[in-house]
Every structure is written in structure tokens, then in C-alpha cells.
Amino acid sequence: MTAETGVGHGHVDYLKVYLALLVLLGVSLAGPLVGLWWLTLVTAFGVAVVKALMVAAYFMHLNIERRWVWYLLLLMLGFMIVLFAGVAPDVLQGEGQHWVKSSGAVPGH
């Protein structure tokens, strides 16, 4: 094993990253309080994406890791988008010509 994870990559102040993450958490909690549905979406999921990227880059050190590791992980995410794109049209469609999908109400046990 070499100096791959060697000394001197404490450039990033982990505490600062952590505080930024907490601020973002706060933003995502405040978003829904405003009441605009699109803002809630942005704050909830946009913040989630940013937080995850920050954890990946700074805590997992992906920012100083070999590039192809990023690509590999993003490729996996890409496949999940393909999955969603290919399946969602079927799951999301409730009716068409001559048919209706029976997706019943809450059964309530």
C-alpha cells in the first residue's frame, strides 16, 4: 500500500463541511413551511443531492480519489435512472384505451 491516502489531505476542514451540511438540513426543513410545492421539492431533493455530493466528495474523499471511481458510482446511478425511465410509464399509467388499472383505495385493516 502506498501513500495513496497519505499525509496532508486534511486540507478540507471537516468541521466546516459538517456545519454546511447542518445549514442545508435546516434549509430542507424550512422549505415545506413556505408552502410552495415546487420550492419544497427543490429544498427537499435539491438539498439532498447537494448534501450527498458533499458527503461523497469530502467525507469519502472522492474528490481526491481516482476519477473512474466517481464514474463507476455515477454509472450505477445512471442505471437506476434508466430503470426508472423504463418502468415508470407503466406504473404511472392508470388507464388507456379500453382499460383502467384498478389501484384500489386504502384497505384500512
Partner: protein, 196 residues
């Protein structure tokens, strides 16, 4: 920086033709396979959530405060994990072990809150059978919780060895896994707790 890998490991394990140390490389591949497992589950959930508007009402019955608190707990435990990694880098085994113990503590708090949440929800009739929303909720957070437990066990092992100054490189590896668990939760939180 020393990597104290025992001499009884095969030559194969000590080579590093790709430039990424073997242990870390393996963790990346592990995460790659985990992304598609959680990704598949979450993609399925998301599709159904979009298709069933009433799920937003069901999601209103999850405890957003508990969820937010747990998000904070996991973020904090991730901080401890990376500080532990920093300590291990410096060769400070005892320091690394201490940080890992804090991380484990965070994980235990997370599980305790989760248990409290679930108990409350079940008592109020929001069982796994009530609606397919709840089936996804319990399955997804349960699968995540399982990964938390596995992570805690792994960190306990690594911490025990690190305190004795052995296999310090594993602190980083278990940390990467833990950060992944944290990242999954970062997505679970808005998906299940923040109602549209």
C-alpha cells in the same frame, strides 16, 4: 503511513496495479452494488408515490421531527467517522478508535429513535399492512437500519483493532461504508418524511 497487513495474506492482496489500495477498491465495488439495491427499491417507491397522491397524506403521519433529528445524528456520526480516519492517517490508533466509538454511539442513537418511531407508528395503526406506502416505509427504513447494524458491528471490530494499533487502514474503509449509509438516509428523509 504504515499499513500493517499481516504477512499471511496472499501476495495478491498486497499488490495494487490499479493504484487504488485493494481494501478501498473492494469497498467502492460494494457501494456500487448497494447503490443499485437501494436505488431499485427507491425508484420503485418513487414511481408508486407519484402514482398515488394519497400517499402524501400517509407520509404526513411519519414523524418529521424524529426524521430530521436522525438526519442530524447520522451527519454528526459521519463527522466523527472522518475525524477517526484523520487520526488513523496520523497513526493515532487510540484516537481513531475513540472517534469510531462516538460514531457507533451515533448509530445507536439513530436506531433507538427509529425503534421509538416505529413503535409509535405501529401503536397508532400505521402498520406495514395499512397501505403499500407503509410497506415501502418499513421495508426501506428497515433495510437501511440493517445496514446501520452491520456498520456498527464492523466499526466495533475495526475500533478494537485500531486501539491496538493494528489495521489502521480499515478505519477509512469502514468510514466510507458508514458515509454511504448516511448518504442513503439523506435521500430517505425527504422521500418518506417530507410530505408534498
Amino acid at each position: 503511513m504504515t499499513h500493517a497487513i499481516e504477512a499471511t495474506t496472499p501476495l495478491a492482496t498486497r499488490r495494487s496495479a490499479s493504484g487504488v489500495p485493494t481494501g478501498r477498491l473492494a469497498v467502492w465495488w460494494l457501494l456500487a452494488s448497494e447503490i443499485v439495491i437501494f436505488g431499485g427499491l427507491l425508484a420503485s417507491y418513487l414511481m408508486h408515490r407519484l402514482h398515488h397522491p394519497h400517499w402524501a397524506d400517509e407520509a404526513g403521519h411519519t414523524n418529521a421531527i424524529a426524521g430530521a433529528f436522525n438526519t442530524f445524528v447520522l451527519l454528526t456520526s459521519s463527522l466523527f467517522a472522518v475525524l477517526g480516519h484523520q487520526a488513523a492517517e496520523r497513526g493515532d490508533g487510540r484516537g481513531a478508535a475513540r472517534y469510531l466509538v462516538f460514531t457507533i454511539g451515533g448509530g445507536l442513537v439513530f436506531l433507538a429513535v427509529k425503534a421509538w418511531e416505529w413503535t409509535g407508528e405501529i401503536r397508532h395503526g400505521f402498520t406495514i399492512f395499512r397501505d403499500v406506502f407503509w410497506a415501502y416505509y418499513y421495508t426501506t427504513t428497515g433495510l437501511h437500519g440493517l445496514h446501520v447494524v452491520v456498520g456498527l458491528v464492523a466499526m466495533a471490530f475495526v475500533a478494537t483493532e485500531a486501539r491496538r494499533g493494528r489495521n489502521l487502514h480499515r478505519v477509512e474503509l469502514v468510514g466510507i461504508y458508514w458515509h454511504f449509509v448516511d448518504a442513503v438516509w439523506i435521500f430517505l428523509f425527504p422521500l418518506f418524511y417530507i410530505a408534498r
